[in-house]
């Protein structure tokens, strides 16, 4: 039973609640192979995609998820909306409420924005990424993908590579994996790994080979090129030399290591093209699973909010 009105993060969900979401998603994944790839469950409901940051994957994934549940979708790209005229978040929320939106899927550069919105409107708010805080549906779909491929999450060694400090994906992953008893190691240049991440109960490593030892899963984060000008590492070339995941470096991990990437990928920077093509790379499966997870979230929140 999901009891929350909104999905703001994984921090406050119990293991049981997360399991319900993952189990529900299994049934929604089955819908994709039918000749009619949708079900009528959310007919008449309205989902608003409110994205203050660019996104293709997540916003389209939510759009497809809503459509496969027969809900209607309104897409608001803030750069082309009244936001540029200075309309406040709360006022936009109130406007969407007046339009009888049932769900607002929000992405924002500032952590905590979805929470403020959720406190001010009656529609269910789903966090699609807020600053460096959380990206709960990404955490859930990664967890789903790991469970689908390796069955039991407890005891797995999961290595997250790259820009941990600026990554809400890493945080939602760590929160979810911890609840399921996986052992998480983060690895990257020291400037991209805040010391405080230790408090989340992860191991910190600066050497990729050492981090990969005995790893069951490697989750490779995107190097956010737009943050390059902050000089957090000397050069892209140095980053690539030390942290690019290649078939050679993967020899240090378990042979069957599951290779994940939340996308969009910078091929040749954090991940080599050869790795993308390996048979244990599940990057496209993550995209498919993301739709199933978002369907499960929309469905369960609709049930919880009646």
């Amino acid at each position: 039973m999901l009891k929350t009105k909104d999905l703001l993060g994984l921090e406050n969900l119990t293991k049981k609640e997360i399991e319900l979401i993952l189990d529900t998603a299994i049934n929604f994944k089955g819908v994709f192979t039918r000749s009619v790839k949708k079900v009528p469950a959310l007919r008449g409901k309205t989902v608003v995609n409110l994205f203050y940051e660019p996104s293709t994957r997540t916003s389209k994934s939510f759009e497809v998820a809503a459509q496969r549940l027969s809900a209607d979708v309104i897409d608001i790209t803030t750069s082309m909306s009244s936001v540029v005229k200075g309309e406040s978040l709360i006022d936009i929320g109130k406007t969407l409420e007046a339009m009888k939106a049932d769900f607002v899927v929000i992405r924002h550069a500032m952590a905590g924005t979805p929470k403020i919105l959720a406190e001010n409107i009656s529609a269910a708010v789903i966090n699609a990424g807020d600053g460096f805080h959380e990206h709960p549906t990404q955490g859930l779909l990664d967890l789903y993908t790991i469970r689908e491929n390796l069955d039991e999450i407890k005891g797995l060694k999961v290595v997250i590579v790259g820009d941990i400090g600026h990554s809400r994906v890493a945080k939602s992953n760590i929160l979810a994996l911890n609840k399921f008893g996986a052992k998480v190691t983060v690895v990257g240049p020291p400037t991209l790994i805040p010391d405080s991440i230790k408090e989340m109960g992860v191991d910190i490593e600066y050497n990729l080979k050492k981090a990969l030892e005995n790893a069951d899963v490697v989750n490779i984060l995107r190097i956010q090129l737009e943050r390059q000008n902050k000089n957090l590492f000397p050069s892209l070339r140095e980053y690539t030399a030390l942290y690019k995941v290649t078939p050679e470096i993967l020899k240090y991990a378990k042979k069957s290591v599951l290779i994940m990437h939340p996308g969009p990928m910078n091929r040749g920077i954090e991940i080599s093209s050869e790795v993308v093509n390996l048979k244990n790379a599940v990057i496209n499966e993550q995209v498919t699973n993301g739709i199933a997870i978002r369907m499960a979230i929309l469905y369960l929140l609709a049930k919880a909010n009646k």
Binding site: L2, D23, T24, N27, S35, V39, A41, Y299, K303, K306
Partner: protein, 195 residues
């Protein structure tokens, strides 16, 4: 036993195990009799007890005709017309191990009442493809239809008093024994038969 709103007590055992199994065998026989192209048939059991009934009927057909009739599993939750009032969150499995296209589909359920579940089931099956036809087989028809739906194969007709009586089908696979009970709504639950 809490079923929906209020408590119910057993009023009567409608079918015991022996009778129940005879009826299932008869239904399987009727399905064979009325479908000469039995190899083109697929059964679809509605979660939960319809699935077990479908499996039993398939097993009986296999014993008589030596033909394996495939059994699909269907959870109608996503197709229900009472999404606004139904709070059940858990989805059960839906799985058709065959192509629906051009198949003769027989929906199997334990109890036929308003017909709304069957409406949902038909819509869901259509989303899997275009069957040649869809028939309906139910163990108990308790009357009081709210939609123009009728069963093609009926185990036992037993008309209940709406809002007062209920039918409870118990199958050994989930309930440890085979039995069909008539339940009665009990506002004053003093009887120790309340369960």
């Amino acid at each position: 036993m809490i079923l929906g709103m209020g408590k119910y007590k057993i009023k009567k055992i409608i079918l015991d195990s022996a009778k129940l199994n005879k009826i299932i065998e008869r239904m399987a026989g009727e399905i064979i009799e009325r479908n000469e192209d039995i190899e083109n048939i697929a059964l679809v059991g509605l979660q939960t007890r319809g699935v077990f009934l479908a499996k039993r009927i398939s097993h009986i057909i296999n014993k008589i005709e030596n033909i394996q009739v495939p059994v699909g599993i269907l959870d109608i939750s996503l197709y229900r017309d009472d999404f606004a009032t139904n709070t059940e969150m858990l989805l059960k499995q839906t799985d058709f191990p065959f192509s629906v296209d051009d198949k003769k589909i027989i929906i199997i359920d334990d109890v036929l009442y308003t017909g709304r579940s069957v409406r949902a089931a038909i819509e869901c099956i259509m989303d899997f493809g275009r069957p040649k036809l869809i028939r309906l087989a139910v163990l108990i028809d308790r009357g009081h239809r709210e939609l123009p739906i009728r069963a093609d194969f009926v185990g036992r007709k037993f008309v209940t008093i709406p809002d007062k009586e209920r039918i409870s089908v118990k199958l050994a696979e989930v309930d440890e024994l085979d039995q069909v009970l008539l339940l009665d709504k009990e506002i004053n639950c003093s009887s120790n038969l309340v369960f």
